[in-house]
């Protein structure tokens, strides 16, 4: 637990010290971790697995065992200990094959050790575990079991009568035996013409020829309606072998071999196989069409007498059954795998293995079913059903034997195969039910995609490659606004600034206003106001031209100022006289007629024009 205390924020030096302390601690912690945990220093992925090619065997039968080792990383493994084959005799052992591959700079070693062992005693024999040392730690495989039965028991590798025997061989052909044989023909061959429902029928199609075959083109595959069919062999190249039929020498090549399991009672027909064959015998290598005869098979039902209850019609053949647990002792809360293996010859894919729905003391999960088929002279191999069992109590829990009823067509009898009972020891204390469930069912969510989009309709879309209008507007808009605002301010500033022209225009406007007012007063014969306006007009013009206010000047001062600014003596005199005349008219209040006023107005207008046009000295307005 860390105690929290009030701290002052660290100063510059203190902060650097704290940082260096944290850094040093981290480096030290990583070094300790790297030295103590080998996985951190040099992570290596390693696995070892022991597999037997069969889980059920008879005394004297050879069992092939493979130990597969995969090690990823630069260094390999140090010490390999092979599995203990107690109760077996080693027929051939320790064949080693090695494969090294480099993927993304990672070295991956794959090694396999192959053993062939022969069981010496009956019962459940244990193989393994195999061990190796990788990066200082021991890696161990799980154990495997082989159930050894008596050699008298029906084994799957014993070929059923007639199944997969050599075709035609030196025997006569059924049906067409007495007819003269053609130079080229296709033969459909089986020895089993009368079988029970579900019994395996091995059929072979052969091409027989007496001359060299230049070309072969299959036209039609045989129809197998009402049969469950399994391809056993369909060679890509024709391989001929010498045969003798009815005293004649032929070369025969296998075209197809199938295992057929009839699914209903009655006379079932396997259709002909058709092909085009070109031989040296035909003129010009002409292709001839050949087809096999259809084969009729009588299918009878399995006998009803002594039929076990719940018998499945697919369980026809020869089978053995064995069961094993992956561990014999577990801790409470752990799950255990029960493996039920059926080995035999027959329709293993459709074979009904009794399902364990409920076992007292266990919770049973849905099983995983797999097959290991051996397709040579018929369908044989193993069907493996793996159950995950979760104990619901502690102590010794028994698993009852599992019974498989099947019909053996060779002996025409119903037989039963049975596993022995198993016992599991559960130690410790059971966890709560929820925790137990979680422990047993680990929900591992792997790599997967999200589901499709389920919109009901779609419409045409266009890929946007360039700049859209909205973006363009959003780009231009603020810049345009700024430019506009800047421009507006500049114009306004310019408008506010007084230039010579603007002042000239303003003066002209002012003079006109005064003269216009004077005209109005002239009509009303208001003398004082009339002359005041004339005087104001002249003053405005002089203010502008000389850039001074002339109203406060005496006549002499005005005259001097005008001469100083470059006005002529005559014009200065005329101006002062006119201003005097205006003052007289304003203040003398003498009566005047219209003509005098008109003359005064004209004079003033003329004077203002003269003042405006007069050229002045440089530097003045």
């Amino acid at each position: 637990m860390t105690r929290l205390t009030n701290r002052q924020p660290p100063g510059g030096v203190e902060f650097v010290r704290s940082l260096s302390r944290v850094f040093a601690f981290n480096v030290l912690a990583f070094a300790v971790l790297a030295l103590t945990v080998p996985g951190v220093a040099g992570a290596q992925v390693a696995s070892i697995k022991v597999e037997a090619d069969r889980h059920i065997a008879t005394l004297g039968e050879t069992v092939a065992v493979t130990v597969s080792i995969v090690v990823e990383g630069k260094s390999g493994y140090d010490k390999y200990t092979p599995p203990a084959f107690t109760g077996f005799q080693m027929a051939r052992g320790g064949m080693r094959s090695q494969n090294i591959e480099v993927v993304n700079w990672q070295v991956r070693r794959r090694e396999t050790y192959s053993y062939q062992i022969i069981p010496l005693k009956l019962g459940k024999l244990k193989i393994g575990p195999a061990e190796m040392i990788v990066g200082g730690r021991k890696v161990k495989s799980s154990t495997t079991f082989v159930e050894v039965k008596k050699s008298g028991s029906p084994t799957p590798n014993q070929v059923q009568p007639g199944a997969g025997s050599n075709p035609a061989g030196n025997t006569a052909l059924s049906g067409s035996a007495k007819e003269p044989l053609p130079g080229v023909f296709i033969l459909a061959d089986t020895k089993q013409k009368k079988v029970v429902v579900g019994q395996q029928v091995v059929m072979q199609w052969w091409l027989f020829t007496q001359s060299d075959v230049m070309g072969f083109n299959p036209l039609k595959q045989p129809t197998t309606d009402h049969f469950w069919s399994q391809d056993l062999d369909s060679p890509r190249r024709l391989r001929f072998e010498r045969k003798q039929i009815q005293g004649q020498v032929y070369y025969a090549a296998l075209l197809a071999r199938k295992a057929l399991f009839p699914q209903r009672v009655g006379r079932l027909v396997v259709g002909p196989m058709e092909a085009q064959v070109r031989t040296m015998r035909e003129f010009g290598g002409r292709a001839v069409k050949r087809s096999s005869d259809p084969v009729t098979i009588d299918v009878v039902p399995v006998p009803e007498a002594r039929q076990p209850s719940g018998f499945s019609s697919q369980n026809v053949g020869r089978f053995m059954i064995a069961a094993s647990l992956d561990r014999e002792k577990i801790k409470a809360g752990d799950a255990v795998t029960l493996k039920v293996v059926v080995r035999g010859r027959g329709n293993l894919r459709q074979l009904k293995v009794p399902r364990l729905m409920k076992i007292a003391g266990f919770k049973v999960y849905q099983p995983k079913v797999s097959e290991k088929l051996e397709l040579s002279d018929g369908v044989a191999g193993e069907k493996i059903v793996e159950y995950l069992l979760l104990p619901t109590r502690v102590g010794r829990i028994s698993i009852p034997s599992i019974r498989l009823d099947y019909f053996d067509p060779a002996s025409r009898r119903y037989r039963k195969a049975e596993t022995g009972g198993l016992t599991l020891t559960v130690t410790g204390k059971l966890p709560t039910s929820e925790a137990a469930t979680n422990a047993a069912k680990k929900n591992v969510l792997g790599l997967d995609i999200r589901p499709p989009r389920s919109a009901r309709s779609i419409e045409q879309r266009k890929r946007q490659k360039g700049v859209d209008l909205i973006s363009l507007v959003l780009f231009i808009l603020p810049a345009g606004a700024l430019i506009f605002l800047g421009g507006f301010s500049r114009i306004r500033a310019r408008l506010r600034k007084e230039t010579d022209r603007s002042m000239g225009r303003a003066t002209h406007r002012k003079v006109r206003q005064h003269l216009s007012a004077a005209k109005q007063y002239q009509q009303k014969l208001e003398m004082a106001k009339f002359f005041a306006e004339l005087s104001a007009a002249i003053s405005a013009q002089l203010d502008y031209r000389m850039s001074i206010l002339v109203d406060g000047l005496t006549r002499e001062e005005l005259r001097a100022a005008m001469l100083e600014n470059g006005f002529s003596e005559e014009l200065a005199k005329e101006t002062t006289e006119e201003l005097d005349s205006c003052d007289f008219g304003r203040f003398a209040k003498a009566a005047g007629d219209g003509q005098q006023l008109t003359a005064a107005l004209r004079r003033t207008q003329k004077l203002i024009q003269s003042l405006a046009r007069a050229s002045l000295k440089k530097g003045s307005a």
Partner: protein
């Protein structure tokens, strides 16, 4: 009068044709989706490809095609269609997720390790780091901020605040110019650089545009390559590390 009748008839026929086609497209699309949900992924692919061949471009169509191909374990076409969906709807989260998943699935099988790929032009890598829309938004935000700071300077009295604003403004202007350059680069790439996705699990790249020419290297499903030139049924590709060679056009999905 006759002309008017003919015109009305033509418009009516065209309208009927367009309606009929729209219904057919939707029906075919719905049927393909139904096949997908029923687990018939082959049928789903066939149906969706038929719709795409109209031609119809829609992000949902490509996305669902990608999902269907993925279920068939055809990872090259799956990646190609997820890329196409993203080209129409950039940043679509589910398409990005599925694309990542499909690429991870390819990498689990085999990975093309391109030596020297990191030495490619940095601006191209940066320009492709974000979707076009993302670049646009980022640039416009910076642009507005830069202009606002510039405008705000007019109203700031001289002092520390104004100095700070000038410094911030300078930084924002620099970022704006940088982002604008990347956006321009992206627009250039979009307009001028053609790209494609390798479709089959493994493709042998030849030295020349003919099957008999020397085999130079191999590429795997889902690899994104640039297209340089075309000759008959062959196309010259360039890898991100600069390696070039010829493959058949059918091995490539054009983006």
């Amino acid at each position: 009068m006759m002309k008017a009748v003919k015109a009305i008839l033509f418009v009516a026929i065209m309208a009927c044709t367009i309606t009929a086609q729209a219904e057919t497209v939707d029906q075919a699309y719905a049927a393909a989706l139904k096949s997908y949900y029923a687990g018939n992924y082959g049928e789903a692919v066939a149906g969706l490809e038929r719709v795409a061949a109209i031609p119809m471009h829609h992000e949902d169509l490509y996305y669902n095609l990608g999902c269907s191909y993925f279920r068939l374990d055809k990872l090259g076409p799956a990646i190609y269609n997820f890329e196409r969906a993203l080209a129409l709807a950039e940043g679509a989260e589910d398409a990005e997720f599925n694309l990542k998943t499909a690429r991870a699935a390819v990498n689990a099988k085999v990975k093309d390790v391109l030596k020297g790929a990191e030495g490619g032009p940095w601006w191209e890598t940066l320009s492709r780091a974000l979707p076009l829309g993302g670049f646009k938004v980022m640039f416009l935000l910076l642009w507005w901020l830069a202009l606002a700071l510039f405008f705000g300077l007019r109203f700031m009295a001289p002092g520390a605040g104004r100095t700070g604003m000038i410094a911030t403004g300078a930084l924002v202007w620099l970022l704006t110019v940088f982002c604008g350059a990347l956006l321009a680069g992206r627009l250039y790439l979009n307009a001028n650089v053609r790209q494609g996705i390798i479709l089959p699990d493994r493709v042998v790249v030849h030295e020349g545009p003919a099957p008999g020419t020397k085999e130079t290297f191999k590429v795997h499903a889902g690899l994104r390559v640039s297209l340089r030139s075309e000759e008959n049924e062959w196309i010259r590709i360039r890898l991100p590390n600069g390696l070039e060679g010829w493959i058949q056009q059918q091995s490539l999905g054009r983006l």
